[in-house]
Every structure is written in structure tokens, then in C-alpha cells.
Subunit: 334 residues, 4 copies
């Protein structure tokens, strides 16, 4: 039984983590922590997330004694802001914990990336170099040895699961960048007071055009440039990415289907569609990423959906932990 700590348990991804770990047969929740300054410190998790009433009624502890806490746990999930993860991870790592970071703090092994896109100077080049990017279907072997796993977020997970087989298979025409149009539920903005997430203000709307930090993250890991346009949708959860690509001459729909089959036929959390493309509703509340596509001439449209809080956050983190510790990959998830 692995003793486990969730930091940032008050947020949406944190609460999902708690729900998964609560039913995990080989991991138990040692503590739920929030920032020492948080107004939620001292409350029960289920006061903030009433669906967990009677399920996970543990208190949210203020994170004060990191070193002390680190000694009592084997595993740490950081569902915290980028800067907080950046500062906290090394302390837990130094104590020997295995750390799953759901923030962006260790996702790209390039210090300048953090200066440009996150607005802070990265202080832990050593851990940046050692961190394993937790795109679970692709980094399985590396995960087994990792001490620090940088779990990719919602947009990059859907985008990369859709594109990586095609890129690695050499099926795309280099002359044209894939166009990723993605719509995310409001929970992607986190659990905090904001006019922008109000029922009265939200409507379908693009944001961060050409400037969103997930564009360089996707490019860094895929190895090709992409055009990534995120949108805020008027729903709480889920992501749907519609990706338009140009194929190399001669590539057929059959080639695409085979490529995806080879990549994912033995991956339980990616569901491939033989015909048609997925709808958002197919994945909300579930740990899957669903992928379907259509081809016409040289043009390919791939549609990938996932729950941004699950396969795009908490479920993928637990999936990584399952792989890391040799449990069944879908333990506690299905």
C-alpha cells in the first residue's frame, strides 16, 4: 500500500484524484493538502465538492511542514499552480517521494520555455532533465523508472494522442501545419472566482490565438509545428479537438486506420472509432481519449475527445502511477 499525498486537492483535478485514489486497492490517501494561505484549509474536501460527501470526507490540511510530510508518504500528486509545483517538487523528490506533477512546471526540458511562456525563471534544470513526460500511452517504459513525472494537460494530451501516430508514421505532408481547433469546458480554467467563468459571461469563444503555451509544448514533443486555437465552451467539462491535416500523396484512409490501430490497439484508455468521429458526451466523466477521423483526397480530419479533468489530468496521472508501480494500467479508473 503506497502512502499518497495530494497537494492542491481543493481544485477540480485534485478532487478527481482523491476520488480515484479513494478506490485504489494499492494506494491510500495519507493526506490532502492545500496552500497554507488557502481559505479552504481546514474544510472537508466534501464541503467543496459535495458529490464526494460520504465518499471522501477528509480534511484539507494547510501545507506547512513539507519536509515532515514528505517523510510520511511514498507518492505525491501535485495538482498545483505551475510556480507552486516548481517550488515544491524538489523538496518531495529530495525526500525520495515519487512525484506526479499535473502542472506545466516540468513538461518541457528547456529553461527558456519557462521564461517565455510561463513568466518565471526555472531553477531546477536537473529535474527538468530527469522528468518524464507522462503521455501514458507513449512513455510507458520511461515511466517505470521515473521519479518525477510531468503529466501533460488537457489540450496537449488530446492533440498528441491524435497526431503522434501520424507524425511518427511519416504520414503527414510537411508543407502544411496541422490545424488544431479545440474547445474546452470551463473547468479547464480552474476552481477560482472569476468573472470569465460566470454562467452570464461564458459563451463559445476562442482565446490565446497564436500565443497559448500549449502550442510550443505540443510542438516540442511532437517535433513538428502546429497551429493551435483553443476555445472556451459553455460546458463544465470535456475537450473536443478537431484537427485538420494534409497527408502525403498516396496516403489512404486505410493507412490512417492501420496507423492508429498499431499505436493503440493494446491501449485500454484510447478508444478508436471505425466509422465516424466521437462526440464530447462519449467521454465526459470517463478516463478515455476517443479518436475518429475522415479522409478526403489529401485532407485528413481527426477528432479527439477526452474529459479535460480525467484523461486530461487526474486519470492520466493515476494511469502513470499505475504504470510506474506495476499495477494494472486502468486500476481505479474503470
Amino acid at each position: 500500500m503506497l502512502n499518497t499525498l495530494i497537494v492542491g486537492a481543493s481544485g477540480y483535478a485534485g478532487a478527481e484524484l482523491a476520488a480515484y485514489l479513494n478506490r485504489h486497492p494499492h494506494m491510500n490517501i495519507t493526506a490532502l493538502a492545500v496552500s497554507a494561505q488557502s481559505a479552504d484549509a481546514g474544510k472537508l474536501l466534501s464541503e467543496l465538492h459535495p458529490q464526494l460527501k460520504g465518499v471522501v470526507d477528509l480534511p484539507l490540511q494547510p501545507l506547512t511542514d513539507v519536509a515532515g510530510l514528505a517523510k510520511t508518504v511514498d507518492v505525491v500528486f501535485l495538482a498545483t499552480a505551475h510556480e507552486v509545483s516548481h517550488d515544491l517538487a524538489p523538496a518531495f523528490l529530495a525526500a525520495g517521494c515519487v512525484v506526479f506533477d499535473l502542472s506545466g512546471a516540468f513538461r518541457v526540458n528547456q529553461a527558456s520555455f519557462y521564461r517565455q511562456y510561463y513568466g518565471f525563471e526555472h531553477q531546477h534544470a536537473d529535474w527538468l532533465a530527469k522528468a518524464v513526460y507522462g503521455l501514458a500511452e507513449w512513455q510507458g517504459e520511461a515511466l517505470k523508472q521515473a521519479q518525477l513525472i510531468a503529466v501533460p494537460g488537457c489540450y496537449p494530451t488530446a492533440s498528441q494522442l491524435a497526431l503522434k501516430p501520424l507524425v511518427d508514421g511519416g504520414l503527414l505532408n510537411d508543407a502544411q501545419w496541422p490545424v488544431i481547433n479545440a474547445v474546452s469546458g470551463v473547468s479547464g480554467a480552474g476552481r477560482k472566482a472569476s468573472l470569465n467563468t460566470s454562467v452570464c459571461e461564458v459563451s463559445l469563444q476562442p482565446y490565446g490565438i497564436f500565443t497559448h503555451r500549449h502550442q510550443p509544448e505540443i510542438t516540442a514533443h511532437l517535433g513538428i509545428p502546429v497551429i493551435f486555437t483553443p476555445h472556451l465552451g459553455n460546458f463544465p467539462r470535456g475537450i473536443l479537438a478537431t484537427i485538420t491535416c494534409r497527408l502525403k500523396a498516396g496516403v489512404t484512409a486505410g493507412d490512417i486506420a492501420e496507423c492508429y490501430h498499431n499505436a493503440y490497439h493494446d491501449k485500454p484508455l484510447v478508444r478508436l472509432y471505425d466509422n465516424g468521429v466521437p462526440a464530447l458526451k462519449a467521454v465526459v466523466g470517463l478516463p478515455y481519449c476517443d479518436i475518429g477521423f475522415a479522409v478526403q483526397g489529401e485532407h485528413l480530419i481527426v477528432v479527439a475527445t477526452e474529459d479535460n479533468l480525467l484523461k486530461g489530468a487526474a486519470a492520466q496521472a493515476v494511469q502513470c502511477a499505475n504504470i510506474r508501480f506495476g499495477f494494472a494500467q486502468t486500476q481505479a479508473l474503470l
Copy 2:
């Protein structure tokens, strides 16, 4: 042409007021003002409310020189917080302006009411005494002479328009209090950053059970006790009130219909249903209050709907102004 000022124009009711006055043939917008501390000061109204782009592009001025501004306008709409209205109204009134206050600051002529339900000591007993309650269908004559009009808010407007004909007509059984169950759109909470109004947090939910300040307001003006249970609904705008009453023995559905007909047949903003009851969608974006009912034995259920920002706020305020100044009652509203 009446020179008009809207204070609190950045909010949802304020923006609706601006849209109405922008098309009013006898009133013109002299200025839109917001609190001097507001982060919105200096912006265009249409930056905050993009539907008004190209329609009302006026700037939001910080309210600094009240006395100076008061000299330049004939009419003031206060779409401000209760305390702010309480403090501002007397200055505008002293300058001779006619003031339409959309807050609760002058709705109940009883100083202790403010201590108990609003948490402040009312300093303007004189104006409390002179204020006319702007339930437009009922205070028509008083409105024509008023200098300070306390426009009732969303829940009390729907509740009173539904109940007042019955109470005044002596049709209800005193032994049982009317039960008002009302569901309001999220805009009723105002335009501000709040976790409670997030798309991720809102779901159907009662609040303020037995303690909401609109209960004593309704009781004060109707003259009977009621049980009032407000709910937050997962939609931006609109109110639906389902009101369950007990009738005096012998009162029939025909009596109820006649009672409503007498009260409202010549009132253009109340629409009566001959059969059935209204749905929320019938009134969203429109200045009406719709009323329907059903009777079984001694039991009566009345359903009243309105747009909380319109008949429950901005439209009723303009309706009151139209009555006050002798314009057609629905001028600029239909």
C-alpha cells in the same frame, strides 16, 4: 428631451438600461457612471457588454463629482449596490433630479428593516417616507408625482404581480401562507467575480431559505405573510415563480380569472394566460411578466415568469420613468 444619467452602468441591469435609453425618443444618455474605484472606469460600455458594440459605445465615467453631475441631468437611474444607492440618492434628489433606484435602499418604509436585513442603519427616513415603490402596474398614480422611485427587484415583482390581485380581492384563505418557490437566473447575483456563479459550480439549488430579504419586502407590500424559497438556476436570465395558495371556500377558477383580468387587462406588460401557465422562455429578453394559473378544489397554483433583468429591473425602471413623465408606458420597451 430628458438628460439622463445611469450610475452602475457596468452591471447587467445597467447595460439593459443603457440599451433601452439609447432608443428612447424622449430621454438621452448624458453619462454612464461607475464607482470611482471600479476597474471598469474609462472603458467603453461595449467592451464589457459586447452585444452593445456599435450600439452604445459610451465610456464609463468614474463617479467623482456627484454635485456637478447632478446639475447636468434631469433623471438618474441608480443600478448600484444598496449602500451606494442609500448614500447617493439624497445628493441627486437635493439637486432636483428624479431618481429611479434599482437597489433595495428605499423599498420598505421602515428603518429597522434595513438594520435587520441589509446590515446598515438607514440615514434618510425622510426619503424613505417619500419614496414611491415602483411596482408599475399598481402605483401608477403615485408614480406621477414621485421624485424618488424605489423600483422593486426581480423576485418581489413576479411574486407581487401574481399575488396582489388575489390578496386585494380577498380570495385567499388566511389560514395558510402562500408558498412561493422561485428560480432565478445567475445574472441575479450581479456582474462580479465569484466562484458561486461559475459554470462549474452552478446547478439548481435553493438558498436563503427562510432568511432572504425579499420575504419581508413582499410581506410588507402585500400585507400578508408568505413562505418564499429562492433557488439559483443554471441559466443566465429569467425568473419563474410557482406559487401555491389556498383559496377561500367557494372561490372558483372563474373568480381567479376575473380577478386577474380586472387587474391587468389594460396593463401592456402583464400577459395573462387563458389556459396553462408560462414557461421561462416566453419572457427572456422581453419586458413582460407572464401569469397563468390552475385550480383544484381549494388549491390554486399561480406561475409567474419575467426576465429578472428586465421586468425585474431595467424594463420596470424605464416603465416607471415613462409613467412618471407621461410617456407611453411601453416607450422604448417594445
Copy 3:
């Protein structure tokens, strides 16, 4: 391992039943059936309900040979229309199957009830008399012997779980009928083409005022008259019932709390709120009924929420089966 048949598996409650039984350790899905005329016959369940892709991919068989099928199964869940259940249940019962009927066909032991409220003549007075009403928290002992269980639907479950302890405890004032205002998600209308359930048409709206068949069902089982006003809400799932009652003189909030505690402290699927009342979001997707209340003087307001497809349908049916066959009450549900 109990061999189990779901008839009407194409609907929303049927799909939820399939998901529960799919993970039940002591029951297995022998077949999923739909009406022989259904356009869905021959499709996979997961084609209709894509969230079940890779989870329950079984085909929907046209129900042709009832007698033959009855011989192959131990347990039948009827998620079918009232008339269909009325016609089918006796055949399965005759073959010795234990039948859980989610329709209204056997809920009230009074043939005239069906004539008046369902529009058909009930032909099976014998089974009506033997049927056990599956309000699981209250009929536990009777359920253990039952062959035909009439599982109550969404509104009656929430209403009765909230009111039955108070009625049985003699806490309510007989002079006044409880007022039940309930709002249901659109899935309560079933899975079928209908203009009324369109995104473009649905808004908050009462219906069936004084005439809904659940009013006499609630009254029949509680033993007191009630005023029941159902509303259609603009959300897919969930029910929130706000119930206003008059208490006998002297009854306190403490008495109410004790009454609920006694009734439900050992019932895992009813969650009581010590303070405040539940929101809809607390129960969507979960098998609970949540109950909270507030008292002021002689007035009591109880709020009960549940997922209409789960505790209001599929989860309660499985809960009844668990009780019937001696499994843990929450098996497969939590």
C-alpha cells in the same frame, strides 16, 4: 451468478442498468432486449450510448420469444413503457423469473388507479396484489421475498424519502398539505424524438399541475394528500424537490433531525445534511438521495435531490435486487 435480462435497454435508464450490471460481481447480462418493432434492434448498446463504447458493446436483441428467453434467465429488469411492462411481466413471472419493473404498471394496488391515470385497464390484479413497492430504504424485509418488485420512479422516490419519516413520525400538521415543487432533468421524458425535449424548446416550465400521476402514487404510499407540481428543467439529469410542510405545534428542528437520523443513519444511499440543503450537482451521476432541511416556526422546508436515472430508476432497481438476493446493498453502485 444470476443470469439477467434487461428489456428496454435502449433507453436512458436501461443503459444505466446495463452499466451497473456489467460491473456486478454476482449478476451477468445474459441479454439486452428491445421491442421487436424498435429501430434500434440489432444495434450495439454502445452505438446508442457512446459512453459505453468498449464497456458494454452487447447487441440489442428484438424481443420476440418471451417464453424462450424467460427460461434462460433468473432476473428480468423491465425498463419499458407502462403498458409493455403490464403485458410482459406476467410471462416472465410465470417462468419463475424475479422481475424488477421500472415502469408504473404495478406500483399502486388499485385497478381503478390505472384506468384513471394511465388510461388502460389493469388485467393482473393478482400480481398487483403481490407486487412489492421497491422504495428500497423502507421495504427491505418485503423485498427479500418478492418475485415482482415495482420500482418507484424519480419524483415519488425523492418525495417519499423526504416525507415518509415525517409522516410516520407524526410530525406534520394535518391541516395543511405538503407542497412538493420538483424540477426534473429532461431525461425523465425518455429517449425518443420529441420537440418538447429539444435544446431549442426546453426552459424551466411547470407541467401536469394537479394532474400528474405521481401525485396519487405518492399519496397512496404515504397515506396523506400532497400538492405535487413537477417542472421540466433545462438540464439532462437530476431531480430537486423543494417540499414545504407545516409542523405540528412544538415540533423543533431537533425533532426533525432526529427523525431523519433514525430513518436513515444506516442507509448507505441516503445522505443527510447536518447544515444546509443539497444542490442538484451533489447527486448527478451518483446513486444517492440527498436530504437537507430548514425550520422556521411551524414551517419546514425539506430539499431532496437525486439523479432521476439512478436513485430515481436504475440504481434503485439494482439496490432492490441486491436486497432481494442478499448481496451488499450498494454492490455495483458505489
Copy 4:
């Protein structure tokens, strides 16, 4: 005063047409008609669309005597199915009426187009040749002489208003097709019973990938190929199109801004954004198309929004009528 007939007034676009014409100073509603087979025949328009209660209470007449009706009206709006418009328009045209057809029956002057994309043989090549495509900002002069105006629908209007200035200005790189990702509200599917439009079924979902009939319509009128991917969104009204293009080398953001300014600075129903891009909420319920864009290197992303029932249907039809008859272009619309 022009006597006007609306055929298909029961639908969503028809009801919007009725609301506009009801307040038009130079056009009056002579009759509202529906198919003779329609279950809505004989009802009041306001029974179907309760927001129009007390506003447009006219009855929906069954369309039986086309020739007789044609003699009594000057103008006909056909808010009917493609095949119905195809059959009806010539009869009204023969009687000298000016016909505004909101269907696709006369939008592309190529008979084979109808065979391939609409599944019927076009019988009226003469009228196809004479029909003027009512993209109001661009066909102003032709509209003034037209007798048959084929009003473009929702997706093509937003797409073409966004792309036509760029195409005509020669700013796009031919080597790459514009990628149009568009999300439409559910009302785009029309007012009819359908499981696909149910609150329980709708979620964000692409459809008609590579096969939607609006793709060849856009291509026919713009003169360039495009990739058009429509999506169904979980909201009643509105369209947001995100269009990704490749620019010719050397084209700057300034060039794009100038191009749009030249095209639309004197067009009252197109609103250009100097900074940023529009959100859906900016246009819902309003007759505008809003356009904004961003440029990075050779890549351009244009975002266009409109209300699919207004600028994408009824408002554009009335705008065309205003131009046709020499009224102010925005008469009755603003």
C-alpha cells in the same frame, strides 16, 4: 405598404421573420402560412413561439390556394424546406411577387449541384439563372433588380463574409485551402421532433465532415476550395466560425485590417474588431455578423460570429428586402 406572406412561419426562422415584419414600417404581414399537412395549421404563431404572445398572434394558415394567395401579396418569404421552396417559388414568381427564399433551392446556379447535394432534380433552370444570391453586403446592386433572392444560410454567410474580402483582395496563398471550423446552435436543425436535438443527446460534435452541402456552396461563390467542418454545439442559437488561412508572403496584419475596413466600413450589419475576436454572446439575438482576426507570420485566423437565425437567416432576408425596395438597410432590424 407592401403586403407580405411568410410561408413556413411555424419554424424558428419564420417566427423571427414575423417578429421583424411586425415592426416594419413599410411591410405588413398579410398572412402566415404553413404546409397544408402541418399539425400546426390553425394555431396561432404565438402558441408555438410563446415569446410572441401579444406581439404576433396571427393564425398559421394551411397553404392550399397558392395562386389565390399570390394575387393578394407583393412579397413572399419562403422559410421552407429546399424541395418545398423549389416547388413553390415559381408559382409566386409567375404572379409577380418578389420572393425571398431562405432555403437552398436557388443558391447555386448549377443543376448538377442539386442532384449531388440535395438529392433532387432541379426543374427551374430559368429561375436558377435569374436568382440573385442574397449575401447582402456584396450583392447590393443586383438585389435592387431581383425578383428571386436566394438568401444564403448560416454557415455560408459567416464564412463568406469573413473570406470574401481576402479572396477578392488576393491576400491568400493558393497553396493551402482555408480551414473553416464552425459551431452552430441547435436551432440550425430546424423546429421538429428529433432525438438528435434533445437536451439529453446534444453535446459538441462535428458532423458532415467533408460532405456537408455548404462546402460546395461556399466554394461556388468564393471561387476557391475550402475545408469546411461543421459542429453541433450545445446551445440554441448562434454560429462561431474559426477560419485558419495561409497568407501570401508579405501580407501583414495591417493589410488584413485595411482589406476588411474597405469592405465593411459602410456596412451597418458587419462589426469589425480592432483588437481581438468576437465571442458568440456578442451576436445572439442581434442581426450582426462580427469579425475579428489575428496574424502570426504567414498564418491568419479569422473568427466570425452571427446569430444563425438572424444574420444567418431572417435578418439577412429582411436586409435583402430593405435593399430591394429601397428602404434603410437596417429597417426593422435594429
